[in-house]
Structures are given as C-alpha cells and as structure tokens.
Amino acid sequence: MQYWIIQTLNSLALGGLLFLLAAGFSLIFGLMRIANLTHGSLYMLGAYVGVTVLKFVPNLWLAALIGGAVIAVFGGLIERFILRALAGNALGQVLVTLGISFIVADFCLIVWGGDPIPVQTPLALRLPLRVGGVAFPTYRLVVLGIAVVTAIALYLLMERTRIGAMIRAGVDDMQMARAVGIPVSKLFTTVFCLGAGLAGAGGIIGGPIMSAYPGLDADMLPLALIVVMLGGVGSLLGAFVGSFLIGAIYTFGTALLPDLAYVILFLPMIVVIAFRPRGLFGRQTV
C-alpha cells in the first residue's frame, strides 16, 4: 500500500515537472507549426543560469524568476532574428532550432564544465515529509503545486485575456486570424518568449531533483515531444493531461516492468499518432 502511495506521488511530481516543460513547447508548436527542438536546451540553459544566479542570490524561487526571464529574452531573440528570417520555411526553422540546440549544449559545456552541478533544495523543504510511516520528498510536492498553479495561470491567460484569445485564434486558423487584423508575428515573439521562459524556469525548479549536467537537454526534449504528441498540439489542456499521463505511465511502467522502460515510454506516443494523429485534445494533425 505504502509502495503504491509513494509511486502515485512520484508520478504526480514527475507529471508536474513535465508540464512546466511541455506547456511552452505545445503553445509554440500549435501557433508556429514548428517543433522547437531547442526546447530541451532552453530547459538546460535555465538550470545552468539558475546555478549561477544562486551563487549571488541564495533563493531558489528568485533564481527561477530571474533565470526564466533571461531564457525568455534569449528565446525572443532566437524567434526575432533567426526564425523570423526563415518565415514560411517550416522545415528550415526546425533544422535551425536543432542547430541552435547543439550550439547551446557546447556553450554550456565551455562555461559550466562537464561535471554535474547540484542545485540545493531550499532549507525548509529538505527533509522528507512523513505521514503515517510514508516518507516522501517535500520538495517534489511543492513542484507539483507550482505546476498546478502555473496551469491555472496559463488557463486564465488563454481563456480570459485578449492576448489569449488571439493566440487561440492563431492556433485554430492562422490565415483567418491575419485577415481579421491580429498581429500574428508579434504574437509569435510573445509566445516564444513565454514558452522559453517557462522552460527556463522549469529547469531551475527541476534542479534540486535533476541537477544541471551536460545531456540534460537531450534527456528532456523527447519527453516534451511525447507529452505534446499525446495531449495534442497547441492545447493547454492536452499538455496538462498529457504530462500527468506520461508521468503515470512512466512511473508505473518502470516500476512494474523495469526491463521495458523505453518501450513503455514511447509506445503510447506511437499508438496515439497511428490512431489519433491529433492527439487527445488537439485540433490539428501533427
């Protein structure tokens, strides 16, 4: 029983972390129609920037805000000066994002070196939470809380604000959105900044669990892809449900059938693409 409680909490915490990563990826994919392959790198860069910020301000949450802002600006620059130049050439844009991810990886290696760098858990959250004989890392529960709060904030942004309405319009029908006078290219920059910032902040918030290390980008990117394929491109609800589904599939899959860890992770994605190409909640075909 205790085992199942811990594994359930595990799956929820992993799902929360995945949501921080995948929400931005999904929005960018939905609006701009490109799989942003730098997303994993932005996550890793966020973790590394957070490590540096933490040397000056010993507060994880402040570091997440600052790091998120830095990565948002970086993302904005990529969109504005590189992707914009390739507008209309989706394949070219995807390849460019892949190229940038390699450059970022080597940049991180030069600046922060090849050793894993730990991110300290805030002092107050360091001890495991013990309830009735079950010990669970407090910090992971906090990550879950942050993910839920972020999801609600994004929901309100998308459903209740003017800019959210414009993004939804762009996701649904780009040409019609342009025709009715929505400044779609400005929207691109905004969404890219938002997605990059979320990934960057996610990198730091995930830091106490994952640490910052070379290869973190390549570990995270496929997970973002799986979540978005499963949940549906451009759908916030899809990213949310997809994250927790993948968190659960991954956790229980590896717990029950440890030899098939990779199969369990990728099989649902293949099944969904084969039988429901739009994903669970998406409106466009991938």
């Binding site: 992993l14 070196g113 090849g114 994952m210 997970l223 440890p258």
Partner: protein, 416 residues
C-alpha cells in the same frame, strides 16, 4: 618535340613517385618523433572525464619535456563525442592523416567495440581505457592492452569486502542498463553470493533516466546495503534523490569504480561522507609517483585527479617503460606487444603488470569518502594487491562461462 600538357603531367608524376619511393622510409620513421594519438571525448555527456584524460596526458608529457626513451613525442587528439560511429571515423583520421603509431583510448566501451576490427586491420597498438570485458577475455584483440580495469575487476574485490569485512548478508544492486553496468553487477553478484551473501534485488535503469524516484521507491528496506554501478553523472543524481527520500543512514551505500569518482565528489557535500567504493586508483594513494601527479594536477586545474585523469597518466607510464626497453623503437609492432605484456612498472596507481590476454594485474583499493583540508577525498582503507580480471577464479574455467551480462550469472536469490 613540344612539351605539351600531357607530357608535363607524365613527367611530373614520374618525378613525384620517384622521390616518394626513393626516400628511405625506414630511416625517416625512426629518426622522427613518435606520433601518439589520444582518442577521447571532449563534447557531450562524457566530456568531463574525456577532458581530464587529455589534461593528465599533457601533464605527463610536459613533466618529461615531451620525450620518451630519448625520442620526441607528438600528441594528436581525437574527439569521439562518445558516439561509436564518430569514434571510428576520428580514429581513421588519426591513423591515416596524422599517422599515429600508438593510441591511448578510447574512453567508452561502445567506442572501443566499434573500433575493434579497425584496430586489428591496421594492427594499431592500443592502450585502452574502456572496460569491455571480452576485449581481453573471450575475444582478445592482439593489439589491445588495458592498464585500467575491466568492468568487474574492481567490483569483485568490493563484493568480497562487503561479504567478509562489512559482513553484509543481503544486498541490492542497481546500475545503468548498458554493458558496463551489466558486467559490473554480474561480477559483484557472483563474488558476493560465492561468499555466502544474497543479492535480493537487481535493478537496471536506462542510461538517460530523468528521474530515479520510481526506482528508489522500489528498493527493499530489509537489506544491509546497496551497490551502485553507475557511470558519469548518474551515480551522483541517484544518490541525491536517494537522500531526498530519507534513505541515507537506513541502507548503506557502496559504489563501483566510477560512482563516486573524484570528479563527482568535488560537487558533493557532507551527505557523501562514509561511502565505501572500490577502484584501481585514488588521488590519496601514498606513493611518490602519485603524490607528485596529484599535487601537480591540483596546481594546474584546482581539483583532484580521478579515474579518467589517472587512466591516461598510468597508460603513458606503461608506454614510457615499454619504449625504454625497446630503446624508442615503436616501429616493430610485434616486439612492442611482446614487451608491453611482459612489463612490470611502478605507476601512480601502484605496481602494474599484464596477463597474457593484455589486461592489467594490479592493486584494487577499497576507499571511504572523508573530508580532508576542506574537500572530499576517497581515503584508501584497504588494498587488494595483484588483482586480475579473473579475481580468484581460474582463468581457463572463467573463460568457459559466458561473458558477464544482464542475466549471467543468474540471480537465484531475488525476492519479489
């Protein structure tokens, strides 16, 4: 007769081939510097160890004014990125363009296996760091010599130590789901169970697992200890999460040769204190060669040398001693292989010699993490001298069994 274009090309061609053939090739090769190749990894997840390999080798050459056995040494470095296919291409570049005469490396097992047939084909002298068991066991490569350790060579003494000195009865093993992890855990399990212990749980996690929470939650609590067979940053991440779940102090942790390397220790805190690991090296080994090596390395780079730095430093010492015997003549490959496998040399890891399969026989150290001068170090608490890749088993019988793997030897004491 006009000197037309065709004639010119013919004449030029004839002249060139004449000069190439006419040049005394043997004399040129022997009088020139020796061309040493290092196949390492300077980009990607394995870069940390790969960069240390280069730093230590450069230091070795610098300390000797780039001269071995009176002969200048030129160093050529190849970066495989840890990708086997790229490693093969880079090796070809080192051999065919840079004309290296001997290679130190590669770092990782997969790259070593990918280069195996090319090494045979080119008869390239190789001093390897990669740990793949069968390259010096059932499928020995005649040009391959390893001065570090096979995957299980350090794990087997540790299992002995756990069973006999620490008196552990029940243990868990967990490692990366790659050949290196399989071989290490298999060796550990065999020796531990032969000494009367029981491996009650055996876990392998994917190399790029994002989160170890799932695995940690599965760990049985009624055990004496857990053996970590991780490489690179994975052991470090596993152990942090292990602490996060409040398991530190409840299950004792012991680690293989790469789990708590000096490279990882410098980013850890007090939580690592007291952990027991085994390796063929520690920056704390008390011998004159190592004291000088570790001190110089620390001055240059600000941290202790670990597994990878020591690997090239030891291999370079083996090369140096062999060349000394051959008076610098590396051109005679057969003589080199014969000499290197018969050599006995004192290195930073202690005395080193080789078995007939080309693998090292040397001391294995049991180490404990302690704090010294403000930094964490692996203090040597016990030494197993002259450990071979076969541990205490008879080589002939050892080689009749299948190679160590995920399923061999079978784990008979697993509890569900």
């Amino acid at each position: 007769m006009t000197f037309n274009r065709r004639r010119f090309i013919q004449a030029a061609g004839a002249g060139m081939s004449a000069s190439a053939l006419g040049f005394p090739a043997v004399v040129r090769a022997q009088s020139g510097p020796m061309r040493l190749g290092l196949m390492t990894v300077k980009t990607g997840p394995l870069a940390s160890g790969g960069i240390d390999m280069e730093r230590a080798l450069v230091q070795y050459l610098k300390e000797r004014n780039s001269t071995m056995a009176g002969r200048k040494v030129e160093l050529f470095v190849g970066d495989s990125g840890g990708v086997p296919a790229q490693s093969r291409t880079k090796l070809q570049e080192l051999v065919e363009r840079d004309k290296i005469q001997i290679m130190i490396g590669p770092l990782d097992t997969a790259s070593a296996l990918a280069s195996d047939d090319y090494i045979r084909q080119q008869q390239l002298l190789t001093l390897s760091v990669a740990a793949a068991e069968d390259m010096t066991q059932r499928k020995p490569n005649p040009w391959f010599t390893r001065g570090t350790s096979t995957s299980s060579q350090c794990a087997m003494p540790l299992a002995d130590y756990c069973a006999k000195t620490l008196k552990y009865k029940r243990m868990i093993t967990i490692a990366d789901d790659i050949a290196y992890g399989h071989e290490m855990c298999a060796g550990f399990q065999r020796v531990f169970e032969d000494a009367g212990g029981k491996i009650v749980q055996k876990l392998f996690s994917p190399l790029t697992v994002p989160d170890y929470g799932t695995y940690i939650a599965q760990l049985k609590s009624n055990v004496d200890g857990i053996f970590l067979g991780f490489a690179g940053s994975n052991g470090f991440r596993f152990f942090r999460q292990f602490n996060e779940y409040g398991l530190r102090g409840k299950i004792a942790v012991v680690g293989g040769m790469t789990a708590f390397d000096e490279a990882v220790l410098r980013n850890m805190g007090d939580e690592a204190l007291g952990i027991v690991t085994s390796c063929w090296y520690s920056a704390e080994i008390e011998n004159a060669i190592n004291k000088r090596f570790a001190a110089n390395f620390r001055v240059d780079w600000g941290y202790d040398p670990g597994f990878y730095a020591a690997a090239t430093y030891v291999e370079a010492a083996v090369l140096d001693a062999t060349l000394e015997k051959l008076k610098g003549k590396i051109e005679d490959k057969e003589a080199f292989m014969k000499t290197v496998r018969a050599i006995k040399v004192d290195t930073a890891r202690g005395p080193v010699q080789f078995d007939k399969y080309g693998n090292v026989v040397g001391s294995i150290y049991i180490r404990k993490v302690e704090r010294k001068d403000g930094r964490l170090v692996n203090r040597v608490i016990h030494t197993y001298p002259n450990v071979s890749q076969f541990w205490t088993y008879k080589p002939e019988e050892f080689l009749k069994d299948p190679v160590y793997s995920r399923d061999w030897p079978p784990a008979k004491n697993l509890e569900l």
